[in-house]
Amino acid sequence: MMRFLTSLLLGLTLLTAPVYAQNGPLRLELDQGIIEPLPFAVPSFVPDGPAAAQYAQDITRVVAADLTGTGLFREISSDAFISRVSSFEAPLQFADWKAINAEALVTGAVNVSGNRLTVRFRVWDVFSGQELGNGLQFAGTTDGWRRMAHKVADQVYSRVTGEGGYFDSRVAFVSESGPKDQRLKRLAIMDYDGANVQYLTDSAAIVLAPRFSPTGDRLLYTSYETGQPRIYVLDVDRVRRTELNTPGGTMSFSPRFSPDGRSIVYSLIQGGNTDLWKMDLASGQSVRLTNTPAIETAPSYSPDGSQIVFESDRSGTPQLYIMPANGGEATRISFGQGRYGTPVWSPRGDLVAFTKQNKGRFHIGVMRTDGSEERLLTSSFLDEGPTWSPNGRVIMFTRETQGASGRATLYSVDISGRNLRPVRTPDGGSDPSWGPLQN
């Protein structure tokens, strides 16, 4: 694996006289109903030689695409630029950037030496002429240029919004091809923006619902390679899979890691009945968490590992429940009209994302963990299977279109319900699992 050296560029001084902003430093307050995206400019990063020219251009475009893709930022076209930035060190003409209404300015430089790539960047509050945070550099190999661009964009995002970014992350999903009745499915992994797709299984057996470990090193998934749905754990770097030994039932599915990565919670089918179990990965021992004649599935831990939210039809229709992580009495949290499924606890701990089916439509929604403040973010013929971005700002999910030519596609949506957009994959895509920010 590529290793990144991250270091503060010490000794950089502000090159312009400080000007105090009337309203304090630039800050995009995300919880106050952003309507207008924040305009920013990112002049092409300055290459230090011909070998760096293409990388500088490509990195700049990825940084811009990351920020624009959030729906929270709007890029000002370089056609409008008055100033050129031809040196990373030269003073900036803030008046020129103010004149085109840029509120944030990102400048950068790219150095290539052999297969080593170094990116330096700064983020500026145009109004005050002040730097937001400190200049920073990322170094790695040239083939990791996209990751370095994502890291720059994550820094810009977090300095302007005050919350963590999510661009230097990966998504595991099921790549789908062929018609609905003969669909071929393969496990795949890619960058969050759809780049660098890598296939982890072939399509000989149906595979379902990969789930990242908390550190992103492993994936749980369900495969029919024995003829029965069974849970496997896959080492992502080595692409080596191991079947997990679940007790006394032939079918197991819907696994998810605990926040410490040491155990999993999953569904086991015995005699046609589906209950929740928990397995300690080191010992391979499983213990039962639920014991009812109802269907209990789609479990997801709270970030602190103390509770599990899951789906059960014990009331007659599928609804969402929360129980202690070791089992015990469950509290129903969904009470709206319709059927609720696939709950996923947000990384911030405050929300549960879910699939809702009501009056022939499917929705992705969020509610607080006590079931209050339910909001539906999407609506279509079939939306399902939400997964959270590492910062809890964005939800990715599966959208399937109807009819004989129906096709599954990954989509993402901001938790405000805005910025619904497809995530490009080579074939169809389903069952996304959004991994953590990479180191």
Binding site: P179, K180, D181, R183, A205, I206, L208, A209, Y224, G227, Q228, P229, T250, M251, F253, S254, S267, I269, G271, G272, N273, T274, I295, T297, A298, E311, D313, P318, R339, G341, T342, T355, Q357, F381, L382, E384, G385, E400, Q402, G403, A404, G406, D431
Partner: protein, 170 residues
């Protein structure tokens, strides 16, 4: 009365669906939806001891109402025929595949398909078929046989299919 009428109609449809497909290449695993192609459909449909007869004349599948895993009277009739055939042909073992339509999440449908397969299995056992001849598997909504997105198709996809997977005599 209306509800009962509908259920009867669905049951008949199911039998028709099983009877109208005469292409041997699509039988067994293909028609049943088995991902592994392990199904047998050998022999002539006119030979009452053949898997082809079981599939097409006895009827290899039963259908379910939305979200349900209870067996309709029609389903019980088909399963009684399956039990009679399995008792008369003790060399065969079977896998019962449970399926769901696409209205529902992947996870819930997997669990629902397991309920349906198990309901069929329990019925066959209640009619005397040895449990160790009958395994179950759920495909959830992964293997529809009809791919339109209307109740016409959904009703055929909500099924439990008894796939003859081998002979105990090898």
């Amino acid at each position: 009365m209306n509800v009962l009428g509908k259920v009867v109609a669905l049951g008949v449809l199911g039998i028709l669906a099983a009877c109208t497909n005469n292409d041997p290449s699509t039988l067994g695993g293909g028609l049943g939806g088995g991902a592994n192609g392990g199904g047998l459909a050998a022999g002539s449909p006119s030979d009452p001891r053949s898997p082809a007869y079981f599939q097409q004349t006895v009827g290899d599948r039963v259908l379910f109402s939305i979200d349900q895993s209870t067996l309709t009277p029609q389903a019980q009739t088909v399963l009684q025929g399956q039990a009679d055939w399995l008792l008369a042909n003790p060399d065969f073992v079977a896998t019962i595949e449970g399926h769901a339509d696409e209205q529902g999440t992947r996870e819930y449908n997997l669990a629902l398909g397991a309920r349906r397969a198990n309901a069929a299995r329990e019925y066959l056992i209640s009619r005397g078929v040895a449990g160790n001849r009958l395994t179950t598997v759920s495909f959830g909504k992964e293997r529809p046989i009809e791919i339109c997105s209307t109740e016409d198709c959904y009703s055929k996809n909500r099924r439990a299919v008894t796939v003859l997977t081998g002979s105990t005599l090898g």
